[in-house]
């Protein structure tokens, strides 16, 4: 369950003067703890993924990635991300705009509701959609009559992922836009610009790095989401399997090398995401 991660951890560079630094032994001890911890729980598993993936040679590795089911899973995952990210970006901007520029009753309730997916377990998120759209669900009979498939189909996966990733962009932009205020937008209006031009030329450039950051987190989550998607997907190979689900199936069938091969692909995606994220953080800092 990913929590809210603030955009910047602002650690002002500490002036290392004698009076404020710890004794050498303490420093050594603290650094050692961090290194051991990181290697044990982050670096080692990551290496293990790649070791296991190439366990049976490079041919098996590429064969498992090129397998039609794997390719279908990769394709589905990317399609879902492609749908989710723009939707969330639009929703996030709209919600942040609403919260930061207007005062209305129930604003706090709205912010709390936006946070709800962070608080609810993904499995429950998935079940909610089954309850709503499943055959025995609330809207199930009506959907069946009209031959619309949501559960155990791509729309269900998109909905579940959308629910889980909903807060990412909004959560990123709300504090940012609240801090920035609306003086520049007001200035733009007095200079004769309309709402759309003001958004395009003034607001968007101000929030672009925050927006991109939210988009990246949202993207990472939509690619990696397992719980909610698992409930609604139905695990139909080549049709409704996303990458995480595909990995699970392979693993359960004792095809460890194939499972880890796909897993390694996801890890690479994650690492790329992290690099881009760090670049953006660095860029935001230099822009300040």
């Amino acid at each position: 369950m990913a929590g809210y991660i603030p955009m910047q951890q602002t650690n002002p560079p500490l002036e290392s003067s004698r009076s404020t630094t710890e004794p050498r032994l303490v420093r050594f001890f603290l650094i050692a703890i961090v290194i051991v911890f990181l290697s044990l729980f982050l670096v080692l598993p990551l290496i293990a993924i790649f070791v296991k993936a190439f366990d049976k040679g490079i041919d098996v590795y590429f064969a498992s990635i090129r397998h039609p089911d794997a390719l279908a899973a990769i394709k589905l995952t990317l399609i879902v991300a492609l749908i989710i990210v723009p939707l969330n970006a639009i929703f996030g901007i709209a919600a942040a705009w609403l919260v930061s520029k207007f005062d209305f009753k129930g604003k706090n309730i709205l912010i709390t509701i936006i946070d709800l997916p962070f608080a609810v377990s993904p499995v429950i998120a998935g079940l909610v959609f089954v309850l709503l759209f499943g055959t025995h669900g609330f809207l199930g009979p009506w959907l069946f009559e009209h031959d619309i498939k949501i559960i155990f189909a791509v729309p269900g996966i998109v909905l579940a992922t959308l629910f889980v990733t909903l807060p990412f962009v909004a959560r990123e932009l709300i504090p940012l836009m609240q801090a920035q205020g609306s003086a520049e937008e007001e200035a733009s209006f007095t200079l004769g610009a309309n709402g759309w031009k003001t958004f395009l030329f003034v607001t968007l450039p101000k929030i672009k790095w925050g927006l991109l950051y939210g988009v990246i987190l949202c993207n990472a989550r939509s690619i990696g989401e397992f719980g909610a998607v698992s409930v609604v997907s139905g695990h139909i190979r080549g049709l409704t399997n996303t990458m995480p689900l595909h990995i699970e199936i392979l693993y359960n069938e004792y095809q460890f090398s194939a499972a880890f091969a796909v897993a390694s692909l996801m890890s690479i995606l994650a690492i790329v995401t992290l690099v881009v994220k760090n670049f953006i953080e660095w860029k935001t800092k230099t822009n300040k």
Partner: protein, 357 residues
């Protein structure tokens, strides 16, 4: 473009920010809205710009009612308190913004925009800074960019919200003179908001003094300073000494001294307060007349050509402030702890039932 503000009221929840405001501003006038914080002056300015909607009343530019016209059509130049420059744009782009966002039909060509921007940057003496970003400028420079940006759209009305509030004293004074000259050259109807009475009196043609959402007094700087019509205005425009006493048949009695207050000749035994500016207090070393008040000099501070005295009255133990010229001070040879006689040269009496401070 003249501005008529007619019975404008505005509330935020239960707080009445503006209460039935009427102001008529003539074409080409430079008017200051002066008042303490919370007096509603900024709200009024924002209503004129259309950034805030009035609960009632109307605003006319010339003969045109613009109460329900949106900000972008009002053609006002607005200079924000903290400049509100576009952080991600260079100085050039900031100034050019108002021209660039015009609809294609009325938008000047690229070359025309460039000429206009450089003309304005010359005017504010910032041509050399066209490619800088707002964060690379000093406060005074940012303020001038904000002005150039507001002027670029050739506004009919210029509105400035605490234009010099965030600047240090020296820059503030320079910019204030510069704004006055600019206004005299452009003859554009301007309103600026300030809480600094010196600034308002120094720059404006007319001063509107506001308090708690109402107008206390409107007049030229000289009028409002010399003839305040309420204790609030007296108190707000500079320092003032209070002489609390009894008003009886045109005279204010206090202890064993009395001063003429001819405008209250029919008053009978009323409590009243006399207001005296520090520079309207004369200091004498000897008791020449009966209406002098004896006091002890507690502090003397000399600021340039003016000497400020802090005195404590011997009869009521109240403190008084007096200002005199350095020449007079030298002639009198005053010292701290010395006993002197104080006499108001000019005083204005208000009866507290009518006003509260």
């Amino acid at each position: 473009m003249s501005i008529k503000i007619q019975n404008i009221s505005k509330s935020f929840g239960s707080f009445k920010a503006l209460d039935d405001i009427h102001i008529h501003i003539k074409t080409g006038e430079l008017v200051a809205l002066l008042g303490p914080s919370g007096s509603g002056k900024t709200t009024l300015l924002r209503i004129i710009a259309g950034l805030e909607a009035a609960d009632q009343g109307s605003i006319l530019f010339g003969n045109e009612d613009i109460t329900h016209i949106r900000t972008k059509e009002r053609k006002v130049g607005f200079v924000f308190q903290h400049y509100a420059l576009f952080r991600h744009m260079s100085v050039f782009d900031n100034v050019a913004y108002g021209l660039k966002v015009r609809p294609r039909k009325s938008r000047p060509s690229k070359k025309e925009i460039e000429e206009r921007v450089y003309e304005l940057l010359r005017l504010v003496k910032l041509e050399a800074y066209a490619n800088r970003y707002p964060t690379q400028l000093s406060g005074g420079q940012r303020q001038r960019v904000a002005l150039a940006r507001a002027l670029a759209v050739e506004p009919k009305v210029l509105l400035l919200d605490e234009p010099f509030g965030a600047l240090d004293a020296k820059v503030r004074k320079d910019l204030r003179r510069w704004l006055r000259r600019l206004h005299d050259n452009f003859q554009i109807t301007s309103i600026f908001v300030t809480h600094d009475q010196e600034e308002a009196l120094d720059v404006a043609d007319r001063v509107v003094i506001m308090n708690e959402g109402r107008i206390e007094q409107i007049g030229s700087p000289e009028e409002v300073y010399d003839h305040p019509n309420s204790p609030f205005v007296y108190d707000f425009l500079g320092n003032v000494n209070l002489f609390r006493g009894r008003l009886h048949k045109g005279k204010l009695h206090q202890g064993n001294f009395q001063i003429d207050a001819p405008e209250f000749s029919d008053a009978e035994n009323k409590t009243a307060i006399g207001y005296v500016r520090p520079h309207d207090i004369s200091i004498e070393k000897e008791e020449n007349s009966k209406d002098g008040v004896s006091a002890v000099i507690k502090h003397i501070h000399v600021v340039g050509p003016i000497v400020h005295l802090e005195l404590k009255r011997n009869d009521t133990e109240e403190y008084l402030e007096a200002e005199l010229t350095k020449d007079l001070y030298n002639n009198l040879q005053l010292k701290t702890g010395e006993k002197v006689f104080v006499k108001p040269k000019q005083l204005r009496v208000f009866i507290p039932e009518d006003y509260t401070i």
